[in-house]
């Protein structure tokens, strides 16, 4: 009887959890994102406050000169929103970039955009 109840509860939890995830979507631990990621000369840094910076050494851009953005990771939807620096009447243009995370581990990050372009990064220690 006890075993039957446990199986029923577990089944209920699985149903509850899977019902919150859309079909075909995965979820990733955003905590794995924190830190610096590198793909060749291209760098990204994701901070715990959901802000980040990206820079490319090939263009002689340093980390402190990189483009700042805010980010969010909801399930596999990885959104970067850049805001232009120029400020006319207190409003800045927003440039969103939405990706789908494919792989996120402690050392590897891979995502693709809606046009099938994939991006692969390794964690910078």
């Amino acid at each position: 009887m006890k075993k039957t109840v446990l199986i029923a509860l577990a089944s209920f939890l699985v149903i509850c959890i899977t019902s919150c995830i859309k079909d075909g979507e995965q979820s990733f631990d955003e905590g794995l994102l924190y830190g610096k990621w590198q793909s060749g000369t291209l760098h990204y840094r994701y901070d715990t406050d959901h802000t980040g910076v990206t820079w490319d050494l090939a263009d002689d851009v340093m980390e402190n000169e990189g483009k700042k953005f805010s980010w969010s990771l909801i399930n596999e939807e990885f959104t970067h929103i850049y805001v232009t620096e120029i400020n006319a009447y207190g409003t800045k243009a927003s440039i969103p970039k939405v990706y789908t995370v494919i792989v996120l581990t402690a050392t590897r990050l891979e995502y693709e955009d809606d046009f099938g372009k994939t991006f692969s990064f390794t964690k910078v220690k």
Binding site: L57, D60, K67, Y89
Partner: protein, 908 residues
């Protein structure tokens, strides 16, 4: 008894007769001119100091009665100690009125004549001998306070003369004086304590030296005097006198008397008239001749002076007088200026006693050298104390006459005339105590005309007229018809320039140039005007014409009330204020400028070409944080670095301008430069193609990392002109060149540039929005191909009802968000990505006449088509949107709203 008396009286009588006879014989011998030299010498030689020798001595009474005369020949007096002659006289004669003396009840002595010829006297030796005599005797010494008294109650000496007297004086401390051929005539009338008389003396040669250094050699001297004296009060009244040396004469009159405390009281007047300065120079002792070698001077010197007061016990007489120097000239190798004319008319008052003051009053002082003149008048009070002065100075000079006296190393040449009038008032004590500001009040005016100057053959300045008014705290400058040329650095001309400067220096300012905070301390106020100016320079590709310039500076604020400029085809008027200048200089803040830029016509293309590259020379080095990856090519660039330490706001109002070949009108907005960042803020304008609004930002944190940001809005623009104005838009939205009609264009874009203004593609970031209605699709191969593929009706117009495209730019990716296109029977939703390498990946959702999805990939020359499911068919049907469509719509709204929110609505 009778016989005794008889014998007695006979004896007495005989004796008396004998005595009388003896006296008669003796008197006859003595007073008859017989030689009594041995007798006299024997008597005189009874003292031991002097030795007397006489060739003859005669005492005459009978022949000259009632005068008693003494005549000595070859009188010689020697110092018995040294056996040297101390005095000699070839002939000595003296005559007194004996009858008057004997009959006088009060002992009147009348000296009829005293003469000494061929005299020699060694005054120094005589004084030594007299000292020995006084020391050896028991006679109480005579001090200065001993009352003087003549041996006679009344004495008259009517004819006293000395001829050819040579007198020497030589002291043990090396002082030598010699008088050669002294001739003296004198008379004296003394009665009791009173005496009066006079003398006239001529010395053929006076020689004076100290320690064998000659100060005067064989100088002719002359002296004559009429005086009165009261021996009782020890007073001398010089009624009339004249003294002279060489050809110089001066008079002396007045009173001298002994006063209490051993002082001498005097009131003496002296006058000298027209002394020749040139001859005075000739009298300068040889020991000083070297100092005046080559010096020549002309002129006449006159002096009228008085010395009054006490001398002694710390008192000195007060000297007052007037001095006149006329017709003078001066030249000396040690003075670079030849004084061709010089004159001085002054009075003075010199009181060196305690609490006394010395004052000068210059009625006229003039100095001329060639065409140059200097005039001065005024007074100085308490010269050796506070030195209070009040002088007016005037000058007129030819620059050509002044410049030769400047050091050649300055390299200044020029012509022109300068006239100067100045007033100097103040006191030295105040200057020392409170500084120049506290002790000096100076003002003046300088008028210059016909100025034409050159500096080191590179800088030239000319001006028809220039006036400078200078005060202690003000300066006013007016220049008319002037030009300045400094190589190719600057070539400027103007018809008039006015400059006014005033300072308000507090009394606490001790020095003229305080070390810091000068501007704040002085509270300077400056005003300047310039009319009809023109400036050429190597850094100006065209001459800059200034129709009018009017600005002022006060309270740390520079106010440009009007500045009219024209350059090339453009004209503009600048006005506004610049503040916090002193803060910026002291490094405590930024310069703030708020300017208005008004222009009737500006050729932006031309102005940009003018200023392209300005500021690149001597620029700052790259930031220390610059990456190691900067290449040599990067370093080659030398971009414009935005000035730091300055904050400028420029409000523009341009009526008409040409930019990129387009005529635009009514440009209004603000341009900011803020400590290294330049911003064109809300610059609105209209053209024949569109209404436009631009906000742009340029930063230069380091040479190889520049920043450009744009917020650009075009309303009601003709698309073909949009492409012409913004050629890059053709790359961003290639399909635009297929359309014709009016549209709105909104762009927010930013990127970093390297030092050669090349894009850093990894930093490109932007969003754009294009909206159009009733757009005509232009015939083209692509359109034909599409029309043929979609079987458009040939009769139908290729008009798109509306077009609303949102896109983003990130690095090399241009994402075109879904937008609806309606044409012919077709209605489709297009979206996709366009890359900067001109490859693309578009998706078309055809909504009518059939529903299908189409992917278009590749490049314009290599298109690939493929059918796919529709992706955005319900994007514009809110109730049917799926998650992707909902997300896409949210992103589109985010982009579109953020772009359009920066548009300023203009009232038309």
């Amino acid at each position: 008894m009778k016989s005794f008396l008889k014998i007695f009286f006979i004896s007495i009588g005989s004796l008396l007769i004998l005595v009388l006879v003896a006296l008669s014989v003796c008197a006859a011998t003595v007073f008859s001119g017989k030689n009594i030299a041995p007798l006299l010498a024997r008597q005189l030689n009874k003292q031991e100091i002097f030795g007397f020798q006489l060739d003859s001595a005669a005492l005459v009474l009978w022949d000259t009665f009632p005068e008693l005369s003494l005549h000595l020949v070859n009188l010689k007096i020697t110092d018995n100690l040294s056996q040297s002659m101390v005095f000699s006289a070839g002939d000595v004669f003296a005559a007194v009125d004996l009858k008057a003396f004997l009959s006088s009840s009060n002992g009147e002595l009348i000296v009829r004549k005293v003469s000494l010829d061929d005299v020699y006297a060694d005054a120094g030796s005589i004084m030594l001998c007299i000292d020995r005599m006084n020391t050896g005797s028991d006679t109480p010494g005579t001090d200065g306070n001993a009352e003087l008294a003549l041996p006679f109650a009344i004495m008259t000496a009517s004819d006293v003369s000395v001829k050819d007297a040579d007198i020497l004086y030589r002291s043990e401390d090396g002082l030598d004086a010699a008088i050669r051929k002294l001739s003296l005539t004198a008379n004296l009338n003394a009665s009791g304590q009173e005496a009066e008389g006079g003398f006239s003396a001529d010395i053929h040669g006076f020689t004076f030296s100290i320690n064998d250094t000659s100060y005067c050699r064989d100088l002719p001297l002359h002296a004559e005097m009429i005086f009165k004296s009261d021996l009782g009060s020890k007073a001398l009244n010089i009624v009339e006198s004249a003294f002279g040396f060489d050809s110089f004469r001066f008079s002396l009159t007045g009173d001298i008397s002994m006063a209490e405390g051993g002082c001498i009281s005097m009131n003496l007047n002296t006058k000298l008239k027209e002394w020749k300065v040139k001859e005075l120079l000739a009298l300068v002792p040889e020991v000083y001749r070297e100092r005046i070698a080559g010096m020549s001077a002309e002129g006449n010197l006159s002096l009228d002076a008085n010395a009054g007061g006490r001398l002694g016990n710390g008192y000195v007489p007060v000297i007052t007088g007037k001095m006149l120097l006329e017709g003078s000239s001066f030249r000396s190798p040690s003075v670079p200026v030849d004084i061709g004319g010089c004159g001085l008319n002054m009075s003075f008052h010199a009181d060196f006693n305690e609490n006394g003051k010395t004052c000068l009053h210059v009625d006229t002082l003039y100095v001329s050298s060639g065409p140059n003149r200097l005039f001065a008048s005024g007074s100085a009070d308490d010269v050796f104390g506070k030195l209070e002065f009040d002088f007016d100075v005037g000058s007129c000079a030819e620059l050509a006459g002044i410049i030769p006296y400047l050091p050649d190393s300055l390299g200044i040449r020029g012509n022109g005339r300068v006239e100067l009038e100045a007033a100097l008032r103040g006191n030295l004590a105040g200057i020392i105590e409170k500084g120049i500001r506290g002790g000096l009040d100076a003002s003046g005016t300088a008028s210059l005309s016909g100025i034409d100057m050159e500096y080191c053959d590179t800088v030239s300045f000319r001006a028809d007229a220039m006036t400078v008014d200078i005060g202690m705290d003000s300066l006013a400058l007016v220049i008319a018809d002037a030009g300045l040329k400094a190589g190719n650095l600057v070539d400027a001309n103007f018809s008039r320039m006015g400059l006014g400067l005033s300072l308000s220096v507090p009394d606490s300012a001790k020095t003229l140039f305080p070390a810091s905070g000068t501007m704040a301390l002085w509270s300077p106020r400056l005003s300047a005007e310039l009319e009809n100016g023109m400036i050429k320079s190597f850094f100006l590709p065209e001459s800059l014409n200034i129709s009018a310039l009017d600005f002022s500076y006060a309270d740390d604020t520079l106010a440009l009330s009007k500045g009219g400029f024209a350059m090339g085809k453009s004209d503009f008027i600048l006005s506004g204020t610049v503040t916090d200048i002193s803060k910026a200089i002291s490094g405590q803040g930024l310069v703030n400028a708020d300017m208005d830029f008004d222009s009737e016509y500006s050729d932006i293309d031309e102005l940009l070409s003018f200023f392209s590259g300005m500021g690149r020379d001597g620029d700052t080095s790259d930031d220390a944080s610059a990456g190691d990856t900067a290449t040599d090519e990067d370093i080659e660039g030398n971009p414009f670095m935005v000035p730091e330490g300055i904050r400028i706001n420029i409000n523009t109002d341009i009526k008409k301008a040409v930019a990129y070949g387009n005529t635009i009108e009514n440009i209004g907005g603000r341009v900011n430069i803020n400590d290294g960042t330049a911003i064109i803020r809300q610059l609105g304008f209209t053209s024949d193609a569109a209404r436009m609004q631009l906000t742009a930002m340029y930063k230069s944190p380091r040479k190889n990392h520049l920043f450009v940001g744009l917020d650009f809005h075009l309303m009601d623009i003709e698309i073909d002109k949009l492409i012409r104005m913004v050629p890059k838009i053709d790359s961003l939205v290639p399909m635009l060149k297929s359309f014709s009609g009016q549209a709105e264009f909104h762009l927010g874009l930013e990127t970093n540039l390297n030092s050669r203004y090349e894009l850093k593609k990894s930093t490109i970031l932007g969003a754009a929005s294009i909206e159009g209605k009733n757009l005509v699709v232009l015939d083209s191969d692509t359109f034909d191909k599409i029309a043929k593929m979609l079987k458009f009706r040939k009769s139908s117009k290729n008009i798109i009802d509306s077009l609303a495209v949102d896109m983003t730019v990130f690095r090399d990716e241009i994402d075109v968000y879904p937008f609806v296109v309606s044409m012919d029977n077709y209605k489709a939703i297009l979206s996709g990505r366009h890359n900067l390498d001109m490859s693309f990946n578009y998706h078309v959702d055809c909504l009518s006449p059939i529903r299908l999805g189409l992917d278009v990939k590749g490049t314009l020359g290599n298109l690939k088509f493929g059918l796919t499911p529709t992706r955005y068919k319900n994007l514009f049907v809110p109730e049917r949107r799926n998650d992707l469509q909902e997300r896409t719509m949210n992103l589109m709204n985010l982009i579109n709203s953020s772009l359009k929110s920066t548009v300023v609505e203009t009232s038309e």
